[in-house]
């Protein structure tokens, strides 16, 4: 067997290992219920949950509570199945948080509470709302 062949086989082997680790480390888009079940089954994997901030009948965001020192906050998110959950985040509230039309949280349930390590916001794009006035 030629050395090049050995190198080739090695490269393919490493590539397969990489595919497997990627598949293993890839996160998933889940609902709160699925995430809770997964956590209950002992999984510590981080998941993505897509949803919106809870709003009252007037369309105002409700349930956002900053900690007294303002360094962390919690909020109520409604996932795509309409399930509500309190989400904890150990950073100050991101700019434009209240204006977001969609929120993606990355994290997981710990002791039955959802802790988000990262929050991605989708804010109304300037191209959608914009109009021109004289």
């Amino acid at each position: 067997m030629k050395t090049t062949h050995i190198i080739g086989i090695l490269v393919i082997a490493v590539a397969i290992v990489l595919i497997i680790t990627t598949a293993g480390d890839a996160s998933q888009y889940l609902t709160f219920t699925q995430a809770k079940n997964q956590a209950a089954a002992g999984s510590k994997a981080e998941v993505h949950v897509v949803g919106q901030l809870k709003k009252n009948a007037m369309g105002e965001v409700v349930g956002v509570v900053p900690s007294p020192d303002m360094l962390s906050f919690k909020f109520v998110m409604v996932d795509e199945d309409g399930k509500e959950e309190v989400v904890y985040h150990a950073n100050p509230m991101p700019t434009d948080f209240m204006k977001s039309e969609q929120v993606v949280i990355i994290g997981g349930f710990k002791n039955d509470k959802f802790v988000a390590d990262k929050i991605l916001l989708k804010c109304p794009s300037k191209y959608q709302e914009e109009t021109i006035e004289a």
Binding site: T3, V47, A90, N111, V115, Y127
Partner: protein, 832 residues
């Protein structure tokens, strides 16, 4: 008045450039050996070049002259934007960035026409074809209801359906909506052109490879392509690092690399280009690695197209900071990508059997063996990154076939990528340290051992000293450090031996020293970055958290120092940056009718009361933060916030204190909403006589006296009316503030004008005067002091990363000049 002519001229240039690239492609394709066709094709390409430059000039003219009747100028620029940011406004939009790419392509085309003879028609055919596709992206015509491309010369009224245009179609907005604050940074003037030059240059080695396949010159394409591959690797690398530096200085994620999909999309082709460059060198030395070089060179260009597709089709959604708005060009981009993928595979498959392979066994005692391994490692690094980056694409494909896929990118991206890239980097460092010792031909195992002894010994000793003194305990880091130090040391040995013989060959050694230093810089600055503002106290925990969480941020009230690690930090208040006097306290300035001019309210430094100061950027406010280290050294940082009302954006940017051994990086996460209403405490009343002292919000205040007034805010008092002001000095932590509340009697009415000291969060009003006792009754109210929440991070030895970058640039430049001389020598002997 709407300037119709300039837009029509722009449209004309777009269509001309499109048609010219089509004609040039056909003419070069048909041309081959026919000199008259090639001459015609050259002329067409020059017409195309002029047209592209015409588009660029026209668009810039529109932006420069604030023709806001055009959508592009209106949505990317504004009147107050300085000229250098008008340049960045040019490529903020997709259309402009495609234009930038096309612009570099035509310049490259002109260079190729001038430097090549034999290869000219075939490589120019490939280049013209890429130009055809790029021009189609900004064509902006609708054929049979199908939109092809998005033109930058659209009128605002044709893009945005606003009621105003129905009543007055000639309406032109007063001002544009401005440039995204994130892009208002000098790196955004220079980083995109560099990166797009990198994009553009990848087409050249690709064009030579395709030309080689077409013409059956399966080996000969390597020589002319090599210097271009090196140039491309250089420019792409520099572009990537400029992007990293921009992110470090402007974005708020606390570092220079975030494994963002857009960063990955350009990192991957760069790795493959570097791998291709190495296998091409192998081929030049011993004739092997031809198939591999072909595949890698072609893959690089296809990966560039793929990354263009990823970043501009909207597939990545919100997962990236570099979100281009989706212009509905994804179908067109996909066709572009597919044409080149299928075309390349077809051309390669057609001649695959004929591509010469070398029958020689690759021995571990040749340089080629080590380069092979290096190229393989680079490709695996690229593979590891492109795989998860493509997860959104994978989900789309599954959905397209009716399935559902809920795969998401890894939650902790930085950790996910870094942990594997680190091992690969170790392998690369070892290979690049060793491979260089194999000069032209094989050397014996014994010779190798004797050559390697000194560098290995040196590097082990140096690394041991470093990790003992630094206190490095993570074995992965120790491994990377040792491998990188080994690469630096052994390449320095090679450099020294070359210095005696032939410095022109030193490019590789210098570039490898650069890469190894970059690895060391990354290892320390990222692996050992230390959050200074981390909350150890435990008091501030939010009790509701189920687990202990790291709180990396610090709440600082104005003028209240906090001790954090080795530093005491204090927030001194908000500042504005003026042209006349640098940073000025925002409380001392009052607005004028012009947004970028303010009037001085209180004299300080070189400024007198009533002076007008001009702001460098009216949207920016700076938070002055003083640091005092344990040994008494002080410095001041000014992290900033940019508030853009037009776009409704609030953007924070860090400030960095640079030492040779480390950077101290500070950024503000949030501060009180300037539009929120202040809640004041209940009013306390105090009765004070002239010369007495009292407390205002816990600060000592001295009632200095009163002064009668003859006018009130510039208006003379009427006969019989009476007004006075009380002069009160309040001792703050760092300076004394003066408050001057006013009391007025007009007829039988008493009026009060309170005074407010923002820094002390205090308000004073004269409630009443007791003339007999000569006592004044003051009303005093307080509120919460101004505050910021910030993060401070120390990044050690980050300068080694930047120095390494410079060495990489120098090394690659030396290598390019060497390979280009080789090409020229052979060309001039008519042996292209």
């Amino acid at each position: 008045m709407v300037h119709y002519f300039i837009g029509n001229l722009g449209h004309f240039f777009v269509i001309l450039s499109f048609v010219a690239s089509l004609v040039a492609f056909i003419a070069y394709w048909r041309g081959g050996k026919d000199a008259s066709w090639v001459r015609f094709a050259n002329v067409t390409f020059v017409v195309h070049t002029v047209a592209v430059i015409g588009i660029v000039a026209t668009l810039y003219f529109i932006i420069r002259n604030h023709y806001f009747e055009y959508h592009y100028a209106w949505s990317h620029s504004s009147k107050l934007l300085p000229w250098y940011y008008q340049i960045s406004a040019f490529w903020e939009g997709q259309e402009g960035s495609f234009l930038l790419w096309m612009f570099w392509n035509v310049l490259i085309g002109v260079v190729l026409i001038r430097t090549n003879r034999d290869w000219r028609p075939s490589i120019m055919a490939v280049l013209s074809l890429t130009q055809l596709f790029l021009t189609s992206m900004i064509l902006g015509v609708v054929i049979f209801g199908l939109k092809i491309g998005s033109s930058p010369f659209m009128l605002l009224r044709d893009v945005i359906d606003a009621p105003i245009f129905r009543t007055s179609p000639e309406f032109i907005p007063e001002d544009g909506s401005g440039l995204n604050p994130l892009l208002q940074n000098y790196w955004m003037v220079i980083h995109p052109p560099t990166l797009f030059l990198g994009f553009a240059t990848t087409v050249v080695p690709f064009a030579f490879a395709i030309a080689g396949l077409l013409r059956g010159k399966l080996k000969e394409w390597i020589r002319p392509a090599l210097p271009w591959a090196q140039f491309s690797a250089l420019i792409l690398g520099v572009g990537i690092l400029m992007g990293a530096y921009w992110a470090y200085e402007t974005l708020n994620f606390g570092g220079y690399w975030n494994w963002d999909p857009v960063e990955n999309a350009i990192y991957v082709p760069w790795l493959v280009m570097v791998a291709a460059m190495h296998t091409m060198i192998v081929h030049k030395n011993n004739g092997s690695a031809l198939k591999l070089s072909l595949i890698l060179v072609i893959s690089t260009f296809l990966l560039i197209l793929y990354s263009t597709f990823l970043t501009r089709s909207g597939v990545l959604g919100e997962s990236s900071v570099h979100s281009f708005t989706d212009l509905g060009l994804s179908g067109q981009l996909l066709i572009y990508l597919m044409v080149f993928v299928i075309g390349s595979i077809f051309l390669m498959a057609r001649v695959w059997k004929k591509i010469p392979t070398s029958a020689d066994e690759v021995s571990p005692y040749t340089r080629e063996f080590w380069i092979f391994l290096g190229a393989a490692t680079l490709c695996l690094m690229a593979f590891q990154v492109i795989l998860p980056t493509s997860i959104p694409v994978w989900n789309r494909i599954v959905e397209f076939f009716g399935g559902t896929s809920n795969m998401a990118p890894p939650g902790d991206q930085v950790n996910f990528y870094s942990k594997i890239q680190l091992y690969m980097a170790v392998v690369l460092a070892i290979l690049s340290g060793t491979g260089q010792f194999f000069w032209w031909q094989k050397i014996s195992p014994k010779e190798l051992r004797s050559k390697l002894t000194a560098p290995i010994t040196f590097s082990l000793v140096i690394s041991a000293i470093i990790f003992v003194t630094w206190g490095m305990y993570k074995w992965q880091y120790i491994l990377l450090l040792t491998a990188s130090v080994y690469s630096v040391v052994s390449n320095v040995f090679i450099l020294l031996s070359l210095a005696k013989s032939n410095l022109r060959l030193s490019g590789g050694a210098i570039a490898h020293i650069g890469i190894a230093m970059m690895l060391i810089g990354i290892l320390f600055s990222s692996g050992y970055s230390k959050i200074l503002s981390v909350n150890y106290t435990g008091i501030a925990w939010n009790h509701e958290f189920p687990d202990e969480v790291n709180q990396n941020n610090l709440l600082l009230f104005q003028n209240e120092p906090r001790q954090m690690g080795d530093y005491s930090m204090v927030y001194r208040g908000m500042r504005k940056l003026t042209k006349e006097a640098g940073f000025v306290d925002a409380n001392d300035l009052a607005p004028t009718v012009l947004p970028n001019e303010m009037i001085v309210q209180r004299a300080s430094g070189s400024l007198n009361q009533g002076d007008t100061v001009r702001l460098i950027n009216a949207e920016n406010s700076y938070f002055e933060v003083h640091y005092t280290s344990e040994n008494g050294k002080t410095f001041t940082l000014y992290p900033r916030v940019q508030i853009n009302d037009e776009m409704d954006m609030i953007v924070y940017s860090p400030d960095i204190q640079r030492y040779w051994h480390s950077d101290i990086y500070t950024h503000v996460r949030t501060f009180p909403d300037p539009e929120a209403e202040t809640t004041w405490s209940e009013m306390d009343t105090v009765s004070v006589a002239e010369g007495e002292s009292f407390f205002v919000n816990d600060y000592v205040a001295h009632f200095r006296g009163i002064e009668p007034l003859t006018e009130l805010s510039g208006v003379k008092l009427e006969e019989g009316d009476f007004a006075l002001k009380a002069i009160i000095d309040i001792e703050g932590e760092y300076r004394t503030y003066r408050a001057e509340p006013i009391f007025i009697i007009q007829g039988l009415q008493a009026g009060r004008v309170m005074d407010q000291v923002n820094d002390l969060a205090a308000q004073i009003t004269i409630l009443s005067i007791d003339p007999e006792q000569r006592r004044f009754i003051f009303g005093v109210r307080g509120t919460q002091k101004d505050w910021i929440i910030m993060e401070a991070v120390q990044m050690p030895l980050i300068n080694i990363l930047w120095i390494g970058t410079f060495l990489l640039v120098i090394g690659l430049s030396v290598a390019i000049s060497r390979r280009y001389r080789e090409f020229k020598l052979m060309r001039d002997k008519a042996m292209e």
